[in-house]
């Protein structure tokens, strides 16, 4: 167990370093974008005096290192990046107010993706190189190729405008309406990662399928169903768990696009608006909080996998 603790300490130090790098990078990139909050907000009639007043008000007249200093101080003392350049409200509260919607889509999409990917992988692996496997492979390639905003619009046209099963856009009020309004966004977001999950899970299953212990299990006369449930899936699940962790960043990115298609007032919607307005404080805040979330989830996944996998618990290399 001591080696597990040492390995974990290394992982945590790594996570902290990544977070710090993200803070500096987020700040740098949001400032490196062409255009500024001033040009995005001031009308064409604005005089130079107004422009200078707004620059001073937003702190944009100060040198970059002074702005970065303020950001770091705000982060350390308040866990906030500061006020939004558009409406002066705290960026942290703007993000927390919207995080619920985004996280709900992410969690729901992850559930849908894992169930769907497992089903596809099991069918593919058990019918390797036969027609169900081929058909599913083509479907998966299509899943990767379809842009989320396009798929989202098509789903809305079919299920919302024509069939009226789901609302066209926005978040419903009340638990039932709320869940109903998240179904299409979650499905759209899930489609983006199902192919990745399903392919790796299929590969894992195939590997385990030909392992000695499976051959032995089959020789003892166990039913295929029992072999699948008791031996194959648990052994293929660990690598898949790591995969879920690493795909989280991809899924959050996908959710950001999906939110703007479905007008879900989440963090992604805020991100798009902030980029349009060059609200670099809000952009920096979203990047930092999202990165921290991804880093923490990856860290937890690593730690859990290490706990569950006896080979890694003894201090072996990460997967």
């Amino acid at each position: 167990m001591r080696s597990w603790a040492r390995a974990s300490g290394r992982l945590i130090a790594y996570a902290v370093a990544v977070t710090l790098a993200v803070v500096v990078l987020a700040f740098g990139l949001s400032r490196a974008m062409p255009g500024s909050a001033l040009s995005a907000q001031l009308g064409s009639h604005a005089t130079d005096a107004t422009r200078q007043q707004l620059a001073a008000q937003l702190g944009l007249d100060r040198p970059w290192w002074s702005q970065l200093g303020t950001l770091l101080r705000n982060l350390i003392t308040h866990g906030d990046v500061g006020p939004s350049m558009v409406n002066g409200e705290s960026v942290r509260s703007a993000i927390t107010a919207r995080a619920g919607a985004t996280l709900s889509i992410v969690v729901l999409a992850m559930l849908i993706a894992v169930l769907l990917a497992t089903a596809i992988a099991v069918v593919s692996a058990t019918h390797q190189n036969r027609w169900p496997d081929h058909v599913l492979r083509v479907v998966l390639s299509a899943g990767i190729a379809v842009p989320a905003f396009w798929l989202g619009l098509l789903l809305v046209l079919l299920f919302s405008v024509h069939l009226r099963w789901f609302p066209v856009a926005g978040l419903g009020t009340g638990p039932a309406a709320w869940l109903r309004s998240l179904v299409l966004p979650a499905v759209t977001a899930a489609v983006g990662i199902v192919p990745l999950l399903a392919r790796s899970l299929r590969a894992q299953l195939l590997e385990v399928l030909h392992a000695d212990f499976v051959v032995a299990a089959r020789a003892t006369g166990l039913s295929s169903r029992r072999i699948l449930l008791r031996h194959l899936i648990p052994n293929a699940a660990l690598p898949a768990l790591t995969l879920v962790g690493t795909n989280l960043a991809y899924l959050i990115g996908g959710t950001f696009v999906v939110e703007s298609v479905f007008t879900i007032p989440g963090v992604g919607d805020l991100m798009f608006r902030s980029i349009t307005n060059r609200d670099s404080t809000t952009i920096t805040g979203i990047v930092i909080y999202t990165a921290v979330l991804v880093v923490v989830v990856n860290l937890l996944t690593d730690l859990v996998v290490r706990l569950l996998d006896p080979r890694l618990a003894r201090g072996g290399a990460a997967l």
Partner: protein, 523 residues
């Protein structure tokens, strides 16, 4: 003024697919929402979806005035005068106004019996405070009028003194930034007052969370037009993609959408459950030439470009028949717009002749800076590219998003540029002052255009009372500008509104706002 609209992410392919799926067949037109013959019904909540930013500030003289802030201000506040659906000036808080014979003293008679939403009576003091505050603060839309003093003659009369005669004064006081607020903001701080502002308009703030994309207005029970507004509340949703607007309307999730994508107008018109209203606006898609530096400092080259582009076809194609062909820098909907000023008509031979005269070699590359975010503008840029290829110029198109465009364009780091602009008022001085008068705030709207004759006439136009003499002045200015061609008006876009057919009485103003005091929903 430039009004900000959020970029639409929709692609041509998506729109085309959407039209196929929604069974678009083009076809029958529907009537205006204003043309309702039955009696208005009181009550109900109206839902409106629009693009752009969430309401961020309700101070009329804030440094930033986004379209959605502006379009909310006029529901909460009134102005002394107002502009109707045709852009004509109408009384609002002032019932009458009159300039002295020398034009230096204006007297405004206030409407009696007007109350703020908190029940306080409107007096001349409130008006004096509001105008003085506007003068002092400036804000996104500062007053251009040469005002030297404002005073309350009595409770119901306000006098404005000018240093020079200024005909557009009454029109200028109709803009969003000239909203009338209570004297001394009721003794509150700016922050507290504008968090829940008190005005004389038909509505007041219901729920407003700056982090939410919905914004709600509720009925002002103290409104001065008795029995109005009919609606109990109005709820706005902002969306970042205009495809979602159309879908929300078709899915009956909202009652009204603004900023309807032009490609969808035909499909919406063919839907009998919906009403589409198209009204001339003060918007125009316009090309601006950098006349102080680079290839377009050459007047003959600008004239060659102006004559090479077939604006009529461009307008028809890119606005799907909803716009009007551009002719002069004063939009057709603005007073004294002179169609005979369209001198440099589409004529490829004349364009080639002017190109030859300019001395610019055939095959020269010119750069067109385009503000992205509008499908129509993207297509217009390509049409210009193809048209100039005809006369032997190669066009390199540089599409930039709004924030980048509005950094590059004002710093004159461009050769010629394409964007959409909007006049603030229906008076010809407004667009003249900021587009072609070199004394305006933006160096002739970043073109660097300077003509002593135009400057002189523009100054005269401001001082001359409305009538034939003033009309002649603007006709001359438009002729001169057309000859010099510092800008090229491609088309005058329409404001497009689409509603469920149960919605009546909404009036669309050329500046893009919706008047809702007469709006009602049929049961």
């Amino acid at each position: 003024m430039r009004i900000h609209r959020t970029a639409a992410f929709g692609a041509v392919a998506v729109t085309a697919m959407a039209m196929v799926l929604s069974g678009c067949s083009g076809g029958s037109s529907s009537g205006s929402t204003a043309a309702a013959d039955s009696e208005p019904v009181a009550g109900g909540a109206l839902t409106i979806a629009r693009t752009g930013q969430n309401v961020s500030d309700l101070d009329p003289v804030a440094k930033t005035l986004t379209s959605n802030n502006a379009y909310t201000l006029d529901k909460i506040f009134d102005t002394l005068t107002t502009q109707d659906g045709d852009g004509a000036l109408q009384p609002s808080l002032a019932t009458e106004w009159k300039a002295s014979s020398d034009g230096l003293t204006w007297t405004f008679t206030l409407r009696s019996g007007v109350k703020f939403s908190n029940g306080d009576a409107l007096t001349a003091k409130d008006v004096v405070y509001s105008i003085e505050r506007h003068l002092k603060v400036g804000g996104a839309l500062p007053l251009s009028a040469p005002i030297t003093g404002v005073k309350a003659v009595d409770d119901g009369t306000v006098e404005v003194k000018l240093s020079k005669a200024y005909t557009p004064l009454a029109t200028e006081l109709a803009t969003f930034a000239s909203s009338i607020v209570p004297d001394d903001l009721d003794g509150k701080s700016e922050k507290d007052f504008f968090a829940d502002p008190v005005g004389t308009g038909p509505f007041k703030v219901g729920t407003w969370d700056k982090n939410s994309s919905t914004f709600e207005l509720v009925k002002n029970t103290n409104y001065w037009q008795s029995g109005k507004p009919y609606l109990d509340s109005v709820s706005y949703t902002t969306v970042s993609d205009d495809n979602s607007l159309v879908q929300q309307l078709q899915g009956k999730q909202v009652d009204v959408i603004q900023d309807v994508p032009m490609a969808n107008v035909a499909a919406l018109k063919s839907n009998s459950a919906l009403t589409v209203d198209t009204v001339g606006s003060w918007n125009q898609d316009q090309v601006f030439f950098n006349t102080s530096d680079g290839p377009f400092a050459n007047r003959d080259l600008r004239r060659a470009v102006a004559q090479a582009v077939d604006r009529a076809t461009l307008t028809q194609t890119t606005t799907f028949g909803t716009g009007t062909t551009g002719t002069t820098y004063i939009p057709a909907t603005v007073r004294y717009s002179d169609q005979s000023a369209d001198i440099l008509k589409y004529d490829v031979a004349a364009a080639k002749a002017d190109l030859a005269k300019s001395g610019v070699a055939a095959g020269t590359t010119v750069k067109l800076l385009v503000e992205s975010g509008s499908q129509a503008r993207g297509q217009q840029a390509q049409i210009i590219q193809a048209a100039l290829k005809e006369i032997g110029l190669t066009v390199e198109i540089e599409q930039k998003d709004s924030a980048t465009f509005w950094t590059t364009f004002p710093s004159k780091d461009y050769e010629f540029a394409l964007t959409t602009v909007i006049a603030d008022t229906g008076d010809p001085d407004n667009v003249t002052y900021w587009q072609v008068d070199s004394h305006g705030v933006s160096d002739s709207f970043h073109t660097g255009y300077q003509s002593d004759e135009v400057d002189k006439l523009a100054a005269q136009g401001r001082e001359t009372p409305d009538g034939d003499a003033r009309k002649d002045i603007y006709a001359k200015i438009q002729q001169l500008v057309a000859q010099d061609s510092p800008t090229l008006s491609l088309d005058y876009a329409a404001n497009i509104l689409s509603t469920q057919s149960s919605v009546h009485g909404i009036e669309l103003i050329p500046n893009g706002t919706l008047q809702l005091q007469d709006a009602w929903i049929a049961q």
